[in-house]
């Protein structure tokens, strides 16, 4: 088995932007971030023939080279489910899911690469309660997996792990706020450009993942009709009333779904969620965080995964990093998965 690397690069392969971070492990629980990069992309840049050059350009602008790379993919075709099954070895379950997708996952998955992980483990050990176990099933179309792998191979940056973005965000939250992760209920809202992901966890266990078709693009389209494109977020931060009202109305599509997710969770379990953790591009705006808090009647907090990391990058990058940190959680989660691999 390969040894755990001390340096890893995590890449968040989104549909609107790709991001990367370089993380170092400096001790059992000491980590440092030494570089990051963020690049807006369009559909053309993510085509198979352009993907390698897009990633190469991103890594080139960030600098640094590592032995381990993890790519976390955000894709409309990604599959992420929680299923209940009798205890089954993961290898067997993968095959079973692939061959019996319609019955177990309600969709045909023969062209998917699937992986699964048992969820209801207590401190890494199997619980004794009942016969059925909960498994997280993640999958991507085989073509996507092969394209990403080929792209990384072609730029001589061999891929060590391929992950789904919501899973990386979940792992990043564990890395950033371990006490809350282990002892409380929490809800993570990752607001992307096309859609947002709501993840609910209780005491270290993932209990709900869902995707909401609302993202930065929807909000942007709503706001630009009231202000010039370059000034819209600046005016929103300044509290321009029309923009704030418009944003509140636009965000309602998201907050309604988040609220229903919370209701669903609290209705099924005797747990309450006391705070919402928001990340993604829109989490950079404090006005939007406040609007969400007001709409959901619950405190919302923008979080980033680097709370316990040393920042070892040039001073001129630190300000940019502080602003973009909430947008780098997935990349951080991908990298930390390699550094803490057992």
């Amino acid at each position: 088995m390969a040894s755990t690397p001390s340096l890893a690069i995590g890449i968040d392969l989104g549909r609107n932007a790709i991001k990367s971070v370089v993380l170092h492990r400096r001790g059992a629980s000491r980590f440092a971030v030494s570089g990051f990069a963020l690049r807006q992309t369009d559909e053309r840049a993510l085509l198979p023939e352009n993907l390698a050059s897009t990633i190469k350009s991103l890594l080139g602008s960030m600098g640094g080279k590592a032995k381990a790379y993890c790519v976390a993919v955000s894709s409309a075709d990604a599959l992420l489910r929680i299923i209940e099954q009798p205890k089954t070895p993961p290898e067997l379950l993968r095959t079973g899911l692939r061959l019996n997708g319609p019955a177990l996952l309600n969709q045909e998955v023969k062209e998917y690469v699937l992986d699964c992980a048992q969820l209801d483990l207590v401190n890494g050990a199997d619980s004794d309660q009942g016969n059925d176990r909960q498994y997280l099933v993640g999958g991507l179309p085989r073509t996507t997996v092969e394209e990403v792998h080929a792209a990384m191979e072609s730029i001589k940056r061999p891929l060590t792990r391929l992950q789904l973005a919501p899973v990386s965000a979940f792992n990043a939250f564990e890395f950033s706020k371990p006490e809350i992760f282990r002892h409380e209920s929490f809800i993570l809202v990752d607001m992307g450009h096309h859609d947002s992901t709501v993840t609910v966890g209780v005491k270290g266990q993932l209990v709900l993942v869902r995707s909401i078709e609302y993202g930065g693009r929807s909000l942007h389209e709503a706001l630009v009709s009231f202000a010039s494109e370059g000034q819209v977020y600046q005016e929103l931060e300044q509290g321009e009333e029309v923009l704030v009202d418009t944003a509140r109305m636009s965000l309602a599509a998201l907050t309604r779904e988040v609220s229903s997710s919370i209701g669903f969770f609290e209705g099924r379990r005797e747990e309450t969620i006391s705070q919402i953790y928001v990340s993604g591009g829109l989490a950079r705006s404090q006005t939007l965080i406040n609007l969400m808090s007001e709409e959901l009647r619950m405190p919302c907090e923008a979080w980033h995964a680097f709370e316990h990391c040393e920042i070892t990058m040039p001073e001129n990058l630190k300000a940019d990093f502080a602003r973009e940190a909430v947008n780098l959680n997935v990349a951080c989660g991908a990298a930390i998965e390699l550094l803490r691999r057992k």
Binding site: V113, L114, C116, A117, L121, E146, L164, F170
Partner: protein, 205 residues
Amino acid sequence: MALHLNLLHEIESAKRARQRDPLKLGIYGIVFIVLCFLGFYFLRLGTTGTILNEKKTLENEWAALEPRQTAAIARAEELRAEIALSSNAISFIESRFYWAPLLEQIGHLVPPSIQISRISGDLQSARGCTISLEGIAAGVEPRTVAEKLRTTLATELLAGEGKVDSSFVSLEDGANQALVGGQTLPTSIFTIRLSVRLSETPPAP
């Protein structure tokens, strides 16, 4: 607890399967064996080449030496014949028996009252012979004179140079009388047989 999914597992499995492909491993094995054989072939080729060169050198040397060897063999045959001849001559010389010194000593030991009428010798080997002495002894007691001669020959002949056994073959009173020193004395006829064995050290030629 952190979640660990890895969607690369199929690619990794395929890669591992490729690495462990029996056909590929078999081909690697065969290539390795062929390379070993090739290496062995070239090694043997080099060794054989060296041996052939040595052989050629030796053949050249042999071609130069063969007439000399033939001549040497012929010469060796000649020398062997000469050596054999010489050995035969030496053997013949070394196996000679010197009668003259023995007869001279016998002559000195025979007293005036005895007349040797016949002497004959028979060579037994290079170092031994038998001598038969026939004669007439004259004296007051002629048999005693003859006995004295036999005893003298046994003890004094070849003194220190060999061993002599003497015995009478016959001793009879003679019918005639002999005049010795102005006295007429009776005679006896005797035949003494001497068996002579010389010591191992050969006399100087």
